[in-house]
Each structure stands twice: as structure tokens, then as C-alpha cells.
Symmetry: C2
Subunit: 246 residues, 2 copies
């Protein structure tokens, strides 16, 4: 058996997230179905990031063990020929046996995009949150600086997660303006359940002078109480952008 | 009654084109339904360009006559609140009685986008033609120069059109490279049925050294025979980009 590392993009609009579920169409589920047909056996796929329902991925990485009978150079095309058009594999390699797409990941980058135009751009409607309200982005960026670093992010974790260690390190935040679009990019060693979307919701509230000021992020972190943070931004503005490995 | 000029964008993926049809969902049909509910009377909409099934519009312009009871500034929001999210109105104005979105148009610009990446970009799959074949774009551009000017475009018209005068003037062609995407942009006083898509199909064949050379465009035009031109490019790469009025 060989250990494969496969890179793919997907439009999450029509999926109930990455992780396989009973009676729901998921990215992992579709990948495993296709691999089962291709290799004529059950193959378990491990993903780098468990994106939620409606969240997209420019770069998701999965690993799986499979027999060596499909030439590596043909593997992406073989998978794409059976995958739906909203999932595209674009790279495959053979890696060491101990590589695991999730556990070996060192750093993940997520991008959240808002459309600040008064009227939304129809061609980006599935990939951006239409947010025409006035936002003070300097203030938003100032608030985001308080999130960078190693913190207990309990206040930014949604209910329903079994993870016990809520300490994560955010290594970078970037704000990019592209015409009417504003991209907010977080890089870190890992993110809790809905953490990026709760951070985005909180930052946008601060940028609109609602409830909190930039420096209040410290208090919100210290409170470790989900109710102290802001709303959860909708999933369709979020995209798993890239993953770095050791 | 006032004469309204309304600008809108749409994602044509789910529509059987602009023009109203029995038993099919069209842009004009949906607009007329919404206007009928809004104004409580039948309202006939005239569009600047009759985009085909699956073709998109960044800027489509429509005109219609309606009573004055909706304030102009509220009209786009009133329409958007009833339109599906893949159609967005973004401007409205009151124009002279003799304005007609189709007849008053002086110039239209269409853009055709191909994705030249070996693997397609999932986020642009609905708006670009995946075309990973090697193309000599200098040769393609040279061929396009022969299309600019006033010509009889019968060879570039699909069957099924009742239009008799096939003479049109193309005032400009532009080729733009944006990463893996190549945009081919035509501006002219008007375009025949599927003319842009047949021109694109023909240019791409020339760019791949199939059948014709750039200078053969002259012969194809002179032949006035659809069979002499190339294939019809698929609709989803095409977008009505802008319209100029007198």
C-alpha cells in the first residue's frame, strides 16, 4: 500500500461540509465513494481541515492509503473523471507512511471575503458575504491584532465540539482590499469549531462600533465565554486557502 | 407613464436565455413577473441584448414603461427584494419616452473567458470555458484583427435567426491575460445569433493551427457559409459586459 497526499479545491455550496455523515452529501463521503469505485475496496480519507457546511476550499489536502496500481501522474485525472465538477483534484504525490493530512499539518490559512458593494456582485454571491454596511477597517484590523498570538479561544468556539484543548496560535492576520471586496485572512496552527466565522463576526461588529472596542478582544478572550464574542459569520464567505506541512 | 432604464447583472447558468419563452425560465420572463406583481399590471420589458441560454451579463440594460408610484431611488431595492439572487438590479433612471434599451444601443461589448489551467478553477467553472489545450495567442489575435471592421458576418451566424441584414461593425477586439484566464473581448454595433461564440470557436481553432490561418478569416467572411467557420464555443464562457448609448 502507498500513502497518497492529494490536493483539491471545492465549491462547498452544495455540501454538508467535509466530514462524512449519514444521509448527507459531504466532500469526504464523495471522495471515499469515488476511491472505492476506483480501487475496488473501501478507502478511508483523512482531511487537513474539517470545513463546515457551505464552506469552500481553494486548497484542501487529504491523505489515504491505496494499492499502487494507478500511475501517480494519472491519479488526479482519474479522480476528476468521476468527481462532480464542484470538486477538482489538482495535485497528487506519494508520501512517507507516517504522513497524515490532518496531524502533519503545521499551519492553515483561511480567507473570509465580504462584498461591501451596495448591490452584491452576482458572480461572487456564492463565495462572499454581502456586507454593505459601513465598516471602519482600520479599527477592525486593530482588533484583529489582539487575536494574533497564543490564546485560549474558548470564547470563539461554537457549541457542539468535543475538542478539550482550546489553546491555539494565530500567527498572522491580513486585510486585503480588492475593489468592493475585503478579504480577511487568518493563519494559525489550527482553528476551533466555527472559530474563524465567530472571529469575523466579532471583528465586523467592532468595525461598526457595536458593543466592543478593539482592546475589548483581550477581555473577550479572558472571559472564555462564547456569549461575549460576536455573531457567527455565514459559511459561504469562508474558504480554506492553503495548508503548510512540516 | 414613465420610461425606465434599468441596469442589471445576472448569472445565466439557470436560465433559458434572456428572451421570454413558453415553459422555460428566462431573464425577461422573471423580470416581467416581478414587475407585474410590483405594479399590478402587465409590463413589457425590452432588453439591450438577447443573451442565449447559459450566457451571463455583467451589464444588461432593459427599458419599460410604468406608472410613477415607486420612487426611483427605491426601484432597484424593490426589484431585488423579489428577484432571485442570480439576478441583481444595480441602477435605474428615468429616460426620454423615445428611449428603447435595444434600438437606442450604440455599442455592445461581450467578453469570452477561457480557463487555460490544466485543471479547471472550481470557483470560475460556471463562468469560463475550461480550455487547457495549447493556443498560440499571438496568432489568435492576428486572426481577430481580420474580424474588426464592417463585414457581412453570415458565416458567423447560427441557423435559426430571422435577421436578414447580416452586416455588422466590430469596432474593437482585446485580448487580456489574467493568470490562467484569457479574456477575449469584442465591441461592436451589434452581433448576430451566436456570432460571438462562433468567432471564439474559430479563433481558438486558428490559434491551435487547425484548418485555417489568420488571413483565412477574410475567405471565411467572403464565403458567407456557416460551415466554413469553426465550432460554436459553449455559452457559459460568454458574458454581456457593457452597453453604450447615444
Amino acid at each position: 500500500m502507498l500513502n497518497y497526499k492529494v490536493h483539491l479545491s471545492y465549491d462547498g455550496t452544495c455540501y454538508s461540509g467535509f466530514q462524512v455523515q449519514q444521509n448527507a452529501t459531504t466532500i469526504q463521503g464523495v471522495l471515499q465513494q469515488v476511491l472505492q469505485v476506483l480501487y475496488k475496496r473501501e478507502i478511508k480519507v483523512t482531511g487537513a481541515g474539517r470545513t463546515d457546511a457551505g464552506v469552500h476550499a481553494r486548497e484542501q489536502v487529504v491523505s489515504f492509503k491505496a494499492p499502487p496500481f494507478i500511475p501517480l501522474a494519472k491519479l488526479p485525472l482519474a479522480l476528476n473523471s468521476m468527481l462532480p465538477p464542484d470538486i477538482r483534484v489538482w495535485h497528487a504525490e506519494i508520501v512517507a507512511d507516517n504522513f497524515n493530512a490532518c496531524r502533519s499539518a503545521r499551519e492553515k490559512t483561511y480567507r473570509y471575503t465580504i462584498d461591501t458593494g451596495f448591490y452584491p456582485d452576482v458572480f461572487r454571491r456564492l463565495y462572499t458575504w454581502h456586507y454593505p454596511q459601513e465598516v471602519d477597517f482600520a479599527k477592525l484590523e486593530e482588533a484583529a491584532r489582539y487575536l494574533v498570538g497564543t490564546h485560549d479561544f474558548t470564547a470563539f468556539k461554537a457549541a457542539g465540539s468535543k475538542v478539550k484543548n482550546n489553546i491555539r496560535t494565530i500567527t498572522d492576520f491580513k486585510l486585503l482590499h480588492k475593489g468592493n471586496f475585503v478579504v480577511m485572512q487568518f493563519t494559525g496552527d489550527g482553528f476551533l469549531y466555527k472559530m474563524v466565522r465567530i472571529m469575523i463576526g466579532t471583528l465586523l461588529e467592532i468595525g461598526q462600533n457595536k458593543k466592543a472596542r478593539p482592546e475589548d478582544i483581550e477581555k473577550i478572550l479572558q472571559a472564555r465565554d462564547r456569549d461575549k464574542a460576536g455573531v457567527t459569520a455565514p459559511p459561504h464567505g469562508l474558504c480554506l486557502w492553503s495548508i503548510k506541512y512540516r
